[in-house]
């Protein structure tokens, strides 16, 4: 099994007629993702890769039985696209936009929570349940179906980890990029319960980085409520204080809060296996997998 996306996912692509939307929709369809509708205001009646385009998410929902959406809209229109999808009643909404103002995300995150909607992103490559469904633009050839759940703030580190796991013969249930921003939709702790309930996920890997305390919160939750082991990695040990390290959220504050050494120490104190190097993750996973 897997979480959030699988063969039953019926996806809307918001911004499907745009360059990125069109390009990645084709790759998703070829992978096996069931895209049932596209949405671009003013383009109802058109088709992209044989998929009908609607003016709005609610129009799409009248004609299709979609249950999830991904937005390929530019960052300045992302807030509107996300609120529209949540308002229409979808319970899984993904955005791959990079550079969304955090004031917009405060509203979207809050609105999603109040509507029991799982909002993934922004600043992510999406999520994939290998062999079943991909919602995003990750290099799917590196992934293999299996029983390790992976969540990552960094896209490339999630690719690297999936690749290393696959090469070590360990498959993945669902790999989720929670995104590199200060205010993501769902955080690690929001997603852990889904992995806990999924009978096929045996181990969860959390790939964190400097800034904030989402990793600590997740591991505290896991220690209290989860039966499944967690393996973690924290990027940014060598990062200087006060510099944004590529991701808007990857910054050690001037007071030193959110540095990698503290995170690693707290995670270890809570009993989590912390990989020193990203390449150590497969070995640690093999140690704890049951």
């Amino acid at each position: 099994m897997s979480i959030l996306v699988d063969k039953n996912t019926r996806l809307i692509v918001q911004g499907m007629t745009g360059k990125e939307g069109t390009f990645h929709s084709k790759i998703m369809i070829d992978y096996g993702t069931n895209i049932v509708a596209g949405v671009t205001p003013g383009k109802q009646g058109q088709e992209v890769h044989g998929v009908p385009i609607f003016n709005s998410v609610s129009d799409a929902l009248k004609k299709t039985n979609a249950n999830a959406s991904i937005t390929f809209t530019p960052e300045k229109f992302t807030k509107a696209a996300l609120l529209e999808a949540i308002d229409a009643g979808l319970k899984l909404v993904v955005t791959v936009a990079d550079g969304v103002a955090f004031h917009d995300m405060l509203i979207c995150r809050d609105y999603a929570k109040k509507h029991q909607c799982v909002l993934i992103g922004p600043n992510t490559s999406g999520l994939i349940s290998p062999g079943k469904c991909k919602v995003g633009f990750m290099p799917h050839a590196l992934y293999k179906e299996g029983s390790v759940g992976v969540m990552s703030r960094s896209g490339t580190l999630s690719y690297e980890t999936a690749n290393n796991l696959t090469r070590a013969g360990v498959g993945q249930s669902t790999v989720i990029g929670v995104g590199g921003d200060q205010i993501p939709g769902a955080t690690f702790v929001d997603l852990l319960p889904f992995y806990e309930e999924d009978p096929d996920t045996k181990v969860i890997v959390i790939i964190g980085e400097i800034g904030g305390n989402d990793e600590e919160e997740a591991v505290r939750y896991a220690k209290k409520y989860m039966t499944k082991p967690v393996v973690a990695f924290i990027a940014g040990s060598a990062a200087p204080v006060g510099k944004t390290m590529g991701h808007a959220g990857a910054i050690i504050s001037e007071s030193g809060a959110g540095n990698a050494q503290d995170k690693q120490r707290i995670l270890k104190e809570l009993g989590t296996l912390v990989a020193e190097k990203i390449t150590d993750i497969p070995d640690l996973v093999k140690q704890v997998i049951r």
């Binding site: 103002a101 896209g155 490339t156 060598a238 990203i278």
Partner: protein
């Protein structure tokens, strides 16, 4: 993006938050013109981003024009905690009876906007929370409701109604919240918000930092952007459409992704390598790779380049072609080491090895190689 105090006060003034009459100068001899008009005692304030200006000697009081002139001379053109003082702000000194702290910021951990208030302003917020935790109120705000009048009721306990017009105070707090929203602030604060002897409020100092992701809709603030303050390598990268971070070592690092880049620096540190810079090249074409190399090699600190590429959307062979094409433009014997993994890795490695470069699968191997080559003496 951070604003200087005088810029913050321009915004405050525009949005109806009272500020003292002030003059900004970048030449000490301009003081005379100002003091022809201003007869009161003045304060001369360095316009810098470093904190603790007062304690470091960056704020001076003057009761005569010649004192003000010599204060400006001492400040302008000199360093304050490592930052060059280019401008000073001269304001009339205010006769105050109490100092408050008011700030609105993002609480990163709670993922909410928080309004922070203290009746013991004038020192920085970390100090207030250490020394007078009981005199600090944090009010978490719903992003849709925003600041409502009832939020301020929990501040009444700090207020002496005989001395202070509470309604006036709440008006200022509300205006500050509106500034936070309107200008996409990461943080905006008034510290101190002074209660004057005549009962009026005035913002004596202000801080405002904008969320960089909101650049596209903050044209008004972007005119305050000071290009000269940016690192030339970072700026050059930005102009070429890359994100780069200038660091203090001697190895330029190019990776395709922020997280991958950060973990490359971590591992580099473990092998005593010192990064000069980190550039995220994304899923770059040959031409873009050439450009990225050009940007980083223009940095005189760079003595070699390490590539760490995780092929996904980015194809290792495409990137390898870019690296190979750049070789002619590099200084003689400039060390280049590449770690490639993922999409089209075998072809990528082949292209680089034909050119005599060290190209490997394993990141640790690549790091050992670049560290030893740079230590042997790069360019």
């Amino acid at each position: 993006m951070k604003l200087y105090e005088y810029q913050v006060k321009e915004i405050f003034k525009k949005e109806g938050i009272p500020v003292p009459q002030g003059y900004v100068i970048d030449q000490a001899d301009e003081v005379k013109d100002i003091l022809d008009r201003v007869k009161e005692e003045v304060v001369v304030k360095s316009q810098v981003h470093v904190g603790g200006r007062g304690k470091a000697g960056g704020i001076k009081f003057a009761s005569t024009p010649s004192e003000a002139q010599s204060a400006a001379e001492q400040l302008i053109g000199n360093q304050l905690k490592g930052e060059l003082i280019k401008k000073v702000l001269i304001e009339t000194k205010q006769p105050l009876s109490q100092e408050f702290y008011v700030g609105v910021t993002l609480d990163r951990n709670k993922k909410k906007t928080v309004l922070i208030f203290s009746p013991s302003g004038g020192m920085d917020i970390e100090e207030i929370s250490k020394k007078f935790p009981e005199k600090l109120e944090k009010i978490y705000l719903d992003p849709i409701l925003g600041f409502q009048a009832y939020h301020s009721n929990c501040l009444l306990k700090f207020i002496d109604p005989k001395k202070c017009d509470f309604k006036e105070l709440v008006k200022i707090i509300n205006k500050l919240y509106q500034v936070y929203i309107k200008y996409d602030c990461q943080i905006v604060e008034i510290n101190p918000l002074a209660l004057l002897e005549n009962g009026a409020f005035i913002a004596l100092d202000g801080k405002l930092q904008m969320d960089d992701n909101a650049e596209f809709r903050q044209e008004e603030l972007m005119k305050y952007w000071d290009e000269a303050k940016e690192d030339p390598i970072e700026l050059n990268a930005q102009r070429s459409g890359f994100t780069a971070i200038k660091l203090k070592g001697n190895i330029a690092v190019i990776s395709n992704g922020a997280g991958l880049g950060m973990s490359t620096l971590d591992l580099l540190e473990k092998y005593n390598g010192k990064p000069a810079s980190l550039l995220d090249c994304g899923a770059a074409s040959q031409e873009r790779i050439l450009k990225a190399i050009e940007v980083l090699v223009s940095d005189p600190d760079a003595q070699g380049i390490l590539f760490n590429i995780m092929g996904g959307l980015a194809r290792c062979d495409e990137i390898a072609r870019g690296i190979a094409a750049a070789l002619d433009s590099l200084p003689k014997n400039f060390p280049v080491v590449c770690r490639l993994q993922g999409t089209n890795v075998e072809e990528g490695l082949k292209i680089l090895r034909v050119k005599g470069l060290v190209a490997v699968n394993d990141l640790e191997e690549a790091i050992k190689q670049i560290v030893s080559k740079v230590n042997e003496g790069g360019r």
